[in-house]
Symmetry: C2
Subunit: 329 residues, 2 copies
C-alpha cells in the first residue's frame, strides 16, 4: 500500500511550525517499512537535526500493573502546568502480538491527549525491537524539532525494551509498587541497576506506610551497590498518580540529576555515546540482516546452529565457514 507523502520541505516546515498533523505524518513516515519512505525519512531527520537536542528525554519503565500510563498522564499534566510542552512516545516490542496497547494508551491518557501542548504517539506496530528503537529515536528527534521540551518514552514491554530505551534517554525512571518482594518478579535482573531514579507508585490512602517503608528499603539497598560512573545514586521517591502527591518531587530529582550531570560535563557526553552507539547498532543491524538473508547462509545456518548448541561443532570454526560463504561472491 503506497501512501501519498509530502515533500521533504513540506515536512520540515510543518514540523518546525509545530503543526501537529504534519508531526504525526512525519512519525508515520519514519515508522514506515517501505524503502522509498525510509530514504525520505533519513533525509528528513537529517534536515531537522539542527533543531534537535533541546528536550529532556525521560524513559519510564515498570511491570504491567504498576500504573505507567496513569503516571504519565498525571506527571505530564504537572509539566504542562509548568509551561512545558510534553511528548509521549511508546516502545512496545510486543504490540504486534497483543495489539491492545494503542487503544489502552489513548483511553488512559485522554486528558493529556486533549491538551494542545501535549502530543501522544502510541507504539509503532511491531517489527523487530532494534527497528522499533531506531524509529523511536527518530520520532524523538522530530518531536524535539517541533518544540517539545520533555519527551517521555514509555516501555510497554516486559524486560525486552529497557536496554533500548536506556540507550536513548537522559534519565531512566523505574516505577515500582510497595510490597514485600512479589512486585519484583516481573522485573528483569539488571533493570534496577539501569535506573537513575525509582518512584514507588500508588502511594495513596492505606498504601502510604508501605510505600514509605519500600522507599527506605530501596534507598538503603541502593547504597550497598556500586554508584554509576557519574557518582549519581538513584533517587527513590514515593508518588501517587491519583492524588498527584510526590510527582513534583520526582521532577525535582530529575532536575537535580540534570544539574549533577551538566556540572560534570556528563550530560552531553552521555548523548555523544548514545549517538555513536546508535550508529554502531545501525551498521550491525544492516550487516546482520544482509548476512541472514544471504541464500548460502540460510541454507547452512539452521543445521550448524543446532550442532553448535549441542556442542558438536566449534563455534569459531563455523563462524569462519559462514563468513567465508558470505564474502565469497
Amino acid at each position: 500500500m503506497i501512501k501519498k507523502r509530502k515533500s521533504l520541505e513540506e515536512y520540515k516546515a510543518g514540523i518546525l511550525e509545530g503543526n501537529r498533523a504534519v508531526l504525526a505524518q512525519a512519525i508515520t513516515l519514519v515508522e514506515s517499512n517501505l524503502s522509498a519512505d525510509s530514504d525520505l525519512a533519513s533525509a528528513l531527520v537529517q534536515v531537522i537535526l539542527p533543531y534537535t537536542g533541546n528536550s529532556i528525554r525521560i524513559g519510564i519503565t515498570g511491570v504491567p500493573g504498576v500504573g505507567k500510563s496513569t503516571f504519565i498522564e498525571a506527571f505530564g499534566r504537572i509539566l504542562l502546568d509548568q509551561g512545558k510542552k510534553v511528548a509521549v512516545l511508546a516502545v512496545d516490542p510486543s504490540s504486534q502480538k497483543t495489539g491492545g496497547s494503542i487503544l489502552g494508551d489513548k483511553t488512559r491518557m485522554e486528558k493529556l491527549a486533549a491538551d494542545r501542548r501535549a502530543f501522544i504517539r502510541p507504539s509503532p506496530s511491531g517489527k523487530t525491537l532494534g527497528g522499533v528503537s531506531s524509529k523511536t529515536r527518530e520520532s524523538m528527534l522530530i518531536c524535539e524539532a517541533a518544540g517539545f521540551d520533555v519527551i517521555l518514552v514509555e516501555t510497554v514491554g516486559v524486560g525486552q525494551s529497557e536496554t533500548a530505551v536506556k540507550g536513548m534517554v537522559d534519565f531512566f525512571l523505574l516505577l515500582m509498587l510497595a510490597g514485600a518482594g512479589d512486585e519484583l518478579q516481573g522485573i528483569k535482573k539488571g533493570i534496577m541497576e539501569m535506573a537513575d531514579g525509582i518512584l514507588i507508585n500508588k502511594a495513596d490512602g492505606d498504601n502510604i506506610p508501605a510505600a514509605k517503608r519500600a522507599k527506605n528499603h530501596y534507598q538503603n539497598a541502593l547504597h550497598l551497590f556500586p554508584p554509576s560512573e557519574s557518582g549519581w545514586y538513584p533517587s527513590v521517591t514515593i508518588g501517587s498518580s491519583l492524588t498527584g502527591e510526590g510527582l513534583n518531587d520526582c521532577w525535582k530529582k530529575i532536575s537535580e540529576y540534570q544539574n549533577h550531570m551538566m556540572e560534570r560535563g556528563l550530560w552531553n557526553e552521555n548523548r555523544f555515546k548514545q549517538r555513536l552507539n546508535w550508529l554502531d547498532e545501525s551498521i550491525q543491524s544492516i550487516l546482520g540482516k544482509a548476512f541472514l538473508e544471504h541464500p548460502e547462509i540460510q541454507k547452512r545456518l539452521p543445521e550448524g546452529k543446532e550442532a553448535v548448541k549441542k556442542g558438536t561443532l566449534n563455534p569459531i570454526a563455523f563462524a569462519k565457514e559462514l563468513t567465508g560463504l558470505f564474502f565469497k561472491k
Copy 2:
C-alpha cells in the same frame, strides 16, 4: 616469527593423555594470531569437542586488592584435596599495557602451580577483549579435554572483562571486602547483578565482625533486587584465604547452585545459550573486522563519526551510506 607446530593428531593425543607440556603448547597455538595457527587451532578444538563439557566452570572477579590470586590459590588447594583436577585461566584485557600480571600470578600461586593436578595459565598477552575471550573459551575446552574437573577463570581487568567471563562460565563469583561502601568504588555498575555468589574475602582476625556485618547487609540487599530467571538468589559467604575458613562453604554454595540449575534443566540451557552467543559474537567480530578494514570505510568513517557524535549527521543515514560502500564492490 614462525614456531614449529605439532600435527593435529599429536596435539589431540597429548591433550587426551593429560600431557601438561602438550596442553600448554595447544593453548599457545589457540592464543596465536598467525592465520595458519588459527586454522589448526579451530580444527584442534573441533576434534577435542567430544571430550569437553565435563567440568564446572567458575568465573572469579573483584577489584584489584580484593585478593583474587590468593583466594584462587587457597580455593584451588581445597579442590585438589577433594581429589579434583583444577585449571586456572586468566582473562586480562589490560595485560598488553602492564605486562605485570603474568609474573604476579606465578609468584602468588606458586603452591598451586607446583601441584601436578593443577594447571595455571597466565593471561594471553593483550589483543582485543573479544579475541581474548574467544581464546579463553577455546583454552577452557582444551583443559576439559585434558581431564580437568574445575576451571577457574580469573578476570584481572577492572570492569571490562566481566561480561565476557560471565558469558563463558557456569558460576560467577564476586569477591568483595568488608567496609562501608568504599570497596564499591572500583566495581562497575551491573557487576553485582551478574554474580551467582558473593564472597566477602579477608574475613580473618579483626576483620571477622566487619565481614559478618557486610554479609548480612548484602544478603538483605540482594533480596530487595529481582532474582535471576532461574529463581536463584546469589549466596553471600565470608571467607579467608589466609585461614581457609569459609572456603568449603563457598564450594558448597557452588554445588547447591549446580543442583538448583540441573534440577530445572537450566545448567545445560545456559551452556546452549553460551555456545550460540559465542557463535554470534564470532560472526559479528569477523564481519565487523572486515567492515572496519575496508578502505572506503576507513576513508569515510572518522569524519562522519565525529559529525554523528556532535549531532550534525543522522546515524541511520550514515549507516546506510557506509554499508552501501561496503557492499558495492
